[in-house]
Symmetry: C2
Subunit: 475 residues, 2 copies
Amino acid sequence: MMESWSFPPDYDSEYFPDPDSRYWFAERETMDPGAREAAIIERIQDVMHYAYAHAPFYRNKWDEAGVHPDDINSLEDFERVPVVNKAELRQSQEDNPPFGNYLCVPEDDIHHIHGTSGTTGRPTAFAIGRGDWQTIANNQARVMWGMGLRPGDTIFIGSVFSLYMGSWGTLIGSERLHAKTFPFGAGATGMTARAALWMQMTRPKAFYGTPSYALHLAETAIADGIEPKDFGLELLFFSGEPGASIPSVKNRIQELYAAQVIDCGTMAEMTPWMNAAGSKETDGMLLWQDMVYTEVCDPTSLARVGWGKQGTPVYTHLERTSQPMIRLVSGDLTHWTDGSDNPCGRTYPRLPDGIYGRIDDMFTIRGENIYPSAIDGVLNEIPGYGGEHRIIITRDGAMDELLVRMDAEQEICASEDDREGLRQNAEKKLGAVLGVRARVEIVSSDTIPRTDFKARRVIDDRDLFKSLSSEAGEP
Amino acid sequence: MMESWSFPPDYDSEYFPDPDSRYWFAERETMDPGAREAAIIERIQDVMHYAYAHAPFYRNKWDEAGVHPDDINSLEDFERVPVVNKAELRQSQEDNPPFGNYLCVPEDDIHHIHGTSGTTGRPTAFAIGRGDWQTIANNQARVMWGMGLRPGDTIFIGSVFSLYMGSWGTLIGSERLHAKTFPFGAGATGMTARAALWMQMTRPKAFYGTPSYALHLAETAIADGIEPKDFGLELLFFSGEPGASIPSVKNRIQELYAAQVIDCGTMAEMTPWMNAAGSKETDGMLLWQDMVYTEVCDPTSLARVGWGKQGTPVYTHLERTSQPMIRLVSGDLTHWTDGSDNPCGRTYPRLPDGIYGRIDDMFTIRGENIYPSAIDGVLNEIPGYGGEHRIIITRDGAMDELLVRMDAEQEICASEDDREGLRQNAEKKLGAVLGVRARVEIVSSDTIPRTDFKARRVIDDRDLFKSLSSEAGEP
């Protein structure tokens, strides 16, 4: 059995690679992609047979689609398996409360309960089995090893511990790695200022949180006279938002902390959500296909797109026994490469720019498709930008208008000329990248509220301020 | 080795008692108190020799006091060991950052970092070793078993996950118990209303948090049209505040939720902090002396007081290897009995009224010693009380005056007569219990902010609104 690769998995909780090894599981991480695909097909068959036997949800769905686990003998066959979307999971839990008819383990095996925030309707409950919890810890530790983290390192977790799986996955990965885990959390009044003090005091090697929060934390520290570079961080790793793969945001964070930034994270449902993650040597995100098999698919046909092409990730658990997700469609937006040039030598496909948007975040202005992440990217490259903005889409008569309200650094705000200069510069650069005219409005710094969590920046005013909000709950 | 009682401890992570057993470790919990004391002396010798060898903090302190581990052959001898107070721990960490010269394990063995909130000065960092983390989990699971919790039960944790050890201790105890752990947390905007929805959806058997928060949660649920009784809770267990042993507060919570209330918790430094905890059959708190040896001491002589007498708890870890606390003086206030009549049959001493105040919370008005917990107790028995209050001490000329500002239920506030009736009733009852006149001011419900955490209710206005705040950080 290659490095404990089986279904269900059976990881040795005492296993550690050689400290000098770049890889946790050298064979699984660097094997020939064709050989890996052959093994993935076996795992898919295992998990599909398991789900067919234990989950009426899958049995009914597949029977209806005329698909049976026995028929899936290639990755192309697998593309015929109907995808799962979040609305179906919600419906299943509404019909079979609280955990849905895709639980697959006895209720007494449930170890942890978590869930989505339910911002777009009924929340979804995650029931994670005792065995899965160990599997998740092992997988997250393995990815964190790839980031260069080692036993004894101090890892500071600056994200809220509640429903959100991001914090918990990092926690148990860090514990399994035998790091010094500092689960500081976030979200309550005054916590950010205290986080800065504790980081100054304990000098962690790594920080985990969301990119927005890391920027907010740096601002808070600086305002309190603490220099974020003095935390001594070597690494910040992020999930929950696209920012860490947007070059301008990434650079800004790297400069503020004088430390490396690594992006990771897919969806809470897919925990071990680090199944897409960068490594110490490789930017963007590797798809750790032997934990979770990821297809980047055409949003309509839901078949894989070619290397270099853009699509939406569709995820399949290869190692989960409680609530396994089989072809869960994310609705996120990315593009992928075959990863043959990954500097770290891992032979996984790669998302060179991470996961940078939502299919449904995209909006259209006068025929141009606009992604909010593109606007974020432009603004972060403009000197004088204060760090926060809102995107407001209005209709002026028959024409849609794009208004970007951005804040400016304090010195800029002091001078009318500087403000106007910033405004014109931002309009010019946005126009060049987006292909449509954007009006820019400059506001003083601190006018736009910062968020501890996922920034929501688009206001669609065409339909009476209906806010475009995407489903939260994914790390 | 009696049920893994040794130093350092070596618990079997797979051990479970018979499901019908009232006790996790029947022998340790029900043994003859004299025999237990003899064993405790052995454990004290073990931990003192260990600390003397590994911690300059203890070696210096004891050398200076002329005390050596070899000399401690009775519990009376042990009373000569100088106590440790929190200021010394802070100083040790300031001199030997970040974990102080009482760490006792190699830095690489540190598993988790937590700490105090630092409301009264430099915070203290807790560095908890990997082995200790398992010991703590086993001990907390054992106490929770005594509360009637069993594998497969759903335990909802409604307290913040950050520095605060209360949440983490409950988490790992619940995990070790093989409960379904739902670590929901608390503290961020909107979380309370969502907590109510999730409890309605998942129907946990038990809730953990602070008494103030349980009251706030019930109010929030009722305001949202959710009946807390419908959560189906059987048990709420509490730490972090004295409330759960104050009969009126306890009764109020029991009525709101139609469930049993159990009090527990000593200090974060003493984790496994459930070393003082009630059981399913026994009210108040048992002192689980084989985990943490507790002496209730005269605050001046720091020798034990007799059964039935009031004093301050002084705690000694018998099973911790990282940062063991040996005679840590709490500054809390309690009284104890020998526990020979404990309904559950455990032979531990008992704190019949829990831990109900702080030595330094006490204030004096015209010669009478007043404990805030006594005022809390009186108000909670008065019909029409809205659930929150503040205690304001003013000086009117030469005389100290006690003002209690309390809120009233909405119906009361609507009528001037009812308000005045409530005011007079409260003044009469407070006067009778406190022995001094208290002026009462009635304010409408929701005027006084609720707290998610430990309620701070005393405002000493004699010294320009200097707030009497006690050190936070203890569960």
